[in-house]
């Protein structure tokens, strides 16, 4: 039985109320269409753009950018973190450079990247890759450094060599940190995607937004914003799914 109190305490209540208020304000003309389109017209545009193939096509272009950039960036982050975390010389070589890079906002590099790589796909993918490398590196590096030395000692006392130690103790122990890093990297990939697509795109979600802006089509802009949000959400739940599988040994998940 759903009582009145349950409804009032439900977490969906306030978003739904906001949506209704918004729709009401649009219909009564309090919010004009060129300021913000009504939810109903946003939904209509969503279906229309999906049916015409406009949205799937541009989404595919954007997805490719984000996925390629994320894949390159996070792989680079993993490789560098492993080299810096497992080799003393690697740490001395790599870590200082990364720490310098860390202080540099990647967005500020956009002009340089445009000069180097032009205004095509390369710049967009490079920006995403460059930005998404850092969280993976920092988290994995810290994860490797933070391995419980007592577990390492125990494994060594049972005669595990270096390779077995890395495979059985260090990497599994650093896995939670890696997954945290990947989650941050994914959301940064979507963020950089938005920024990179402002750079003279001829296809993609950002391109659609710019066209819509010129035509004052706020409904299309809202549709694209929704898709950006869904991209971030999808990435996050992907990592969560991997986490609950790979980290089944953790007590919170064990008891659940």
């Amino acid at each position: 039985m759903t009582t009145k109190r349950d409804v009032l305490q439900a977490r969906w209540l306030s978003p739904v109320a906001l949506l209704l208020l918004w729709e009401l304000a649009s219909r009564t003309g309090v919010i004009p269409d060129h300021i913000l389109a009504a939810p109903s017209s946003v939904v209509r545009s969503l279906f229309g753009m999906t049916a015409s193939g406009e949205l799937p096509l541009n989404l595919a272009v954007s997805l490719r950018r984000a996925a390629l950039g994320f894949a390159i960036g996070s792989s680079l982050g993993v490789v560098l973190a492993l080299a810096a975390g497992l080799l003393r010389r690697g740490d001395a070589l790599i870590d200082p450079i990364i720490q310098i890079k860390r202080t540099l906002p990647v967005v500020a590099l956009t002009p340089l990247f445009i000069i180097w790589f032009g205004i095509g796909e390369t710049t967009k993918i490079a920006l995403i890759a460059f930005a998404s490398m850092l969280p993976v590196y920092i988290n994995l590096h810290q994860g490797i450094r933070g391995i419980d030395i007592r577990l390492v000692d125990a494994a060594r006392s049972f005669g595990l060599g270096r390779a077995a130690l890395i495979g059985n103790v260090i990497l599994p122990g650093a896995l939670p940190s890696l997954l945290t890093g990947l989650r941050y990297s994914l959301s940064i990939s979507v963020l950089m995607l938005v920024i990179a697509e402002q750079v003279n795109a001829s296809a993609g979600l950002g391109f659609m937004i710019q066209n819509a802006r010129d035509a004052m089509r706020t409904d299309i802009i809202v549709v694209c914003l929704m898709v950006y949000a869904l991209l971030g959400l999808a990435g996050d739940s992907l990592i969560r799914a991997i986490e609950s599988k790979a980290l089944a040994w953790r007590p919170t998940l064990v008891e659940a």
């Binding site: 000692d153 494994a155 060594r156 006392s157 049972f158 595990l160 077995a164 059985n168 896995l175 953790r250």
Partner: protein, 256 residues
């Protein structure tokens, strides 16, 4: 000093001890943690090592476990050693049985681990995650992990210190019966005088990096009641606590 008999270590009548340290020293900075230490342990012998905090127990144990470098020192260790640590140190991301066979190679199968776990009374938890085990269960798993290696030298690093009193008694009995079955040489590092007197054939007191005293217990386990009082008094004396009666209650309640 007092009535206890100090047996010079060089006179231990065993021709081929499993452990032999001659004039062993270990220095950290200005501190000599182990100072010209002599130690022999015969095959199958159960030795307890007592000592105050900072007496060098841990360093000696790490040396025997092969965790610290001992280049250029007169040191003989058996090929197969295994350690049970106070904090179990099971890898939390491997199931109990995988922890038991850690580092034994791919040929070692599940049934072998299962029978080792059966022997320590943990057969029913073979597939559990380590973080779901109680303290006593974790120590049983840790014992199984040590014994499956058929060690010539079993190192016990205060393995019962973190257990509640009743669990500790059960674990003492288990360790004794396992020792009687497999007959490894045992070095039990402990703070607990009672534990040492109940389990060991020989008790060493480590002080400032040297063996300060040594007691052999001739009486068989189970009928040591008559010797325990004077033994306790002398061991406590070596640890810096004077007591005439050798009774705990009198020691604590004594008027200054």
């Amino acid at each position: 000093m007092n009535e206890l008999t100090r047996i010079p270590l060089a006179a231990v009548p065993d021709p081929s001890p499993v452990v032999r340290l001659r004039g062993f020293s270990r220095v950290f900075g200005d501190t000599r943690v182990l100072d010209d230490l002599d130690l022999e342990i015969a095959p199958g012998e159960f030795v307890a090592l007592l000592g105050r905090s900072g007496s060098g127990k841990t360093t000696l144990l790490r040396t025997l476990a092969g965790l610290d470098p001992s280049v250029g020192q007169d040191l003989r260790l058996p090929g197969t050693r295994a350690t049970v640590f106070q904090d179990a140190r099971l890898l939390p991301w491997k199931r109990v049985w995988q922890n038991v066979v850690l580092g034994l190679g791919k040929r070692t199968r599940r049934d072998l681990a299962a029978s080792a776990l059966e022997e320590v009374g943990l057969g029913h938890r073979w597939d559990a995650w380590p973080l779901t085990l109680s303290g006593g269960e974790a120590q049983r798993a840790s014992l199984a992990r040590a014994l499956i290696r058929k060690p010539e030298l079993l190192l016990l690093d205060e393995p019962f210190a973190a257990l509640d009193a009743l669990t500790r008694i059960r674990m003492h009995a288990l360790v004794l019966s396992l020792w009687q079955q497999h007959r490894p040489a045992v070095l039990l590092v402990t703070h607990d005088v009672e534990e040492a007197m109940a389990l060991a054939d020989r008790i060493l007191v480590l002080d400032r990096g040297r063996i300060a005293a040594e007691e052999r217990i001739g009486a068989p386990r189970g009928s040591r009641g008559s010797v325990i009082r004077s033994l306790r008094a002398s061991l406590l004396g070596h640890l810096g606590l004077q007591t005439e009666s050798g009774v705990y209650a009198d020691l604590i309640g004594r008027k200054p």
